[in-house]
Chain length 97, copies 2
Amino acid sequence: MIQEVALLHIRPGQTADFEAAFAEAQAIISTMPGYLRHELQRCLEDDHKYVLFVWWETLADHTEGFRGSPEYEQWRTLLHHFYYPFPTVEHYQQVLL
Amino acid sequence: MIQEVALLHIRPGQTADFEAAFAEAQAIISTMPGYLRHELQRCLEDDHKYVLFVWWETLADHTEGFRGSPEYEQWRTLLHHFYYPFPTVEHYQQVLL
């Protein structure tokens, strides 16, 4: 299992519209192969900043499966215009200590 | 419940030492009032980058309680010398959609 971490900066004044669009978009990602679960979280220090976590079975489920799918075009159309600058997306795996 | 998110960049060649120090340090944070749980995760795109998640009951449990405690000095001594640059630490709360 890997965790996608996307730090999202929303354009000024557009957070309510972004959250409404995300409520619609989350139905898209939730159907993708390898998708496990997701969380959208709002930053307490900056109310235009969010972090999106998506848990995937494998890295390729996100980077090849989802990003290469027709559904990704719908996701992009719904969400990408809210972001400025364009988000950094990275993937993490738990260190067991 | 709030989630602390700390993006950590470890100095070159020091990741094994950092993980060993973190294994010791996590015993410190786990005893603090308001602490719920934590995860250390390693970035798949950059093996010197980590993210530390700590779940706290309230923001003040972290920013006032832990950071104002004698235990924080031990934590800092164990870990802070591994970080360059010094991490950005923010707090997030789940958006329920």
